[in-house]
Symmetry: C2
């Protein structure tokens, strides 16, 4: 999509404190519009703001969802007047048992499986939809193989919008059901995920009322991830953690959590204490981890081969910005094998009762590795972001866990089984 | 379990405002103890309280979980000091699109899929564990085929307790995984669910440190469902809805939501406005609905045959109390076919973006039927309780929903597919 008459008069859009779109490469600013690439250098655009004075009290008095931070997001000030999925304000739990297992002193788990469709995608999609409405779109769309498809179809259903979700036709039946149930348009595309993505870009250019959340309204969409950072800080009692470990797919989430922490400091909502940001990848798709290890500023694309499919982006758009954030804060990016991913899922479940999808296993296992290598300070307060649900990736634990014993229906048999186990 | 020395000195237990266990049949009171049947008449015991003065402000300033109501629950006052799953405070969403589809004026959906293991069972299990700790137990146990197994295993893992979960050995692999992942003791019992239940009662009597949440600590466990009522009232702005539709399995949840509403009125936290309570069952397991229709006070057990397995209790312990509550408030109990259950799931998903398990389909479809029969007042504000997650009962929608179309990866093909759909 190119600059149109509509977008040059875009200052009339009511997107709260959002002032403009700003190029992350050259700093050029354009008015708020459904654009994602800088007209001067083709760099990625992000939302720039003129924040009003914001107090902790006003946030705490707000809705029990991401909309308590609406003044910090590119959404209309009356965003809560429209039906939406009301994501966010998920649990931040003190994870003492996992901390002991990892050998760190103070650990928290941000459990984003509590969102409406059980992943952090509900946050970004809710922001995308709110911005898209104001920008004049009427259909919510995405290419996806999993969490994003669920989130888009559910959010559109709730808002009374049409949705168009593109999936590879080879997708497993269970993943098709969990999107199709919401009743939008679900197109099974003959091809792989790259083909689906290319088609999405093509369709975004052709259908001016279709908001592809991660394409033509991506700058707005991506801002939704800042709310993970805001919530962590508020739930810690309005302070920043010493360290945060974030899974890296496109890399957008990590950069936005960092941005969120910085904004809170600048606005005086927290003390701007130093923090370190760590990225977690699966070895089977670890281009950012590799670039970090090699000391590079650019990320070489890879062909993904990992069970952590929700992180399997071989050419991560925000890879360079992840490297910036991690190096600026004194963090690191590391990666773990699929075997370690499964162990990470199991460790989190049996210590904290949180059943994460493979991406969560990546985060936990990477945190473990970073402690072992001395890159994660075991004495600094640490937060792990668990961004998706184990119910969606049951295959990862299939064959790995099962009944302790199979017994006849008698208490004697139970006693014997338990004695055999403990004996 | 009989009255022991421990339980006769039970007044020393710190269970907050809980004063005693009181028989629901004869009113006899015994001190707080791990008992569930009246020593005089064998009627079911429930928790009686001496509530302190409680204000809305003190609740609102409390934790963002069920523990904001801890003074109204049989738990130690310092309950939040121990690691727990922190369930509750799930979304209450205004459901205008579903309201329009059902032909009612003002409708809300309480979406309890946002709980840690995605069902309301996290509420009751959290209360059971907190009480069990104080009562001297050290193992959390249950017989279950689904949501309860998940909730018990997760809560025990988080608390650092051992768990013993009994399941029929024929249970589907996916349901085994979602409990086994938490790493407790999972016993696959050769037999049907009745055999498993009998074994649980036997084991509860033999192992004095095992708290079977729905057997020997059932009076405490059941109180957790009151929090659904408290939250609905608080989230409506501290008032009671005109009507509430609750799925009926054992019937406990419905009676506790009613009890919660009454307590709020008595404590002056809401105006004690009249409300009507409705029960929802699947026709394939509808003993309470049948008793209601027949004007009976007793419930004839049935052999369940329905896809709504989480409601498939053929001999519901609280059936008579459901009939009492429903008749006292001017409500009703009704039932719907499995076909209607699936339609209910789909209707809720496509209008509100909430993907419920079969029990949620029962609630929505029953509400629809009750409107059609004139039993539910379309002009009164109504709340539907959605208590479990569609990801756990994918079979219900399998073969019913799927892609709109399968297309080659070209925008032309997409246009044609959409034209064919709308044409």
């Amino acid at each position: 999509m190119t600059l149109t008459a509509a977008s040059t008069t875009a200052t009339s859009f009511n997107l709260g404190s959002a002032r403009a779109l700003s190029c992350r490469e050259c700093g050029h600013e354009i008015p708020l519009a459904p654009e994602f690439a800088c007209p001067q250098c083709f760099g990625p655009l992000e939302v720039a703001y003129d924040f009003p004075e914001i107090t902790r009290a006003s946030i705490e008095a707000g809705p029990k969802s991401i909309w308590r931070y609406r003044q910090l997001l590119p959404v209309p000030t009356d965003v809560t007047r429209h039906p939406n999925t009301e994501p966010g304000l998920t649990r931040l739990i003190k994870a003492d048992r996992l901390a002991a297992a990892l050998g760190v002193r103070s650990l928290w788990v941000k459990d984003d499986t509590g969102n409406p469709t059980h992943s952090f995608k509900d946050r970004v999609v809710a922001v995308a939809l709110a911005a898209a409405r104001e920008l004049g779109f009427s259909v919510l769309a995405c290419p996806s193989t999993g969490n994003l498809a669920n989130a888009v179809a559910a959010a559109a259903a709730r808002a009374g919008w049409d949705s168009v979700v593109l999936i590879p036709s080879s997708l497993e039946q269970a993943k098709i059901l969990t999107t199709a149930v919401y009743g939008g348009t679900l197109l099974a595309v003959e091809g792989n995920y790259d083909d689906v993505n290319r088609l999405a870009t093509e369709l975004a250019a052709e259908h001016e009322d279709w908001a592809f959340v991660n394409v033509n309204v991506r700058p707005y969409y991506a801002e939704g991830s800042k709310t993970l950072g805001y919530e962590v800080a508020e739930q810690l009692g309005w302070r920043l953690p010493g360290q945060v470990v974030v899974p890296v797919a496109s890399g957008s989430q990590l950069t936005k959590v960092d941005k969120g922490f910085q904004e809170l400091g600048k606005l005086g909502l927290v003390e701007p204490t130093p923090y370190r940001v760590f990225g977690a990848q699966a070895t089977g798709c670890s281009p950012v981890s590799k670039a970090f290890a090699d000391g590079l500023d650019v990320v070489q694309p890879v062909r993904p081969d990992t069970i952590a499919r929700s992180l399997a982006i071989g050419n991560p758009a925000d890879g360079p910005y992840v490297l910036d954030a991690v190096r600026r804060t004194g963090g690191a990016v590391a990666d773990v094998s699929d075997e370690e991913v499964v162990e990470g899922i199991r460790l989190l479940a049996r210590t904290e009762g949180v059943f994460a999808e493979t991406a969560g296993g990546v985060t936990v296992a990477t945190a473990k590795k970073l402690v072992e290598t001395g890159q994660l300070d075991p004495d600094a307060e640490t937060v792990l972001l668990i961004t998706g649900d184990g119910l969606k990736t049951l295959d990862a634990v299939s064959g790995r866990v099962g009944p302790t014993a199979t017994v006849p229906a008698s208490s004697k048999a139970v006693r014997e089984a338990l004695a055999a186990r403990h004996g």
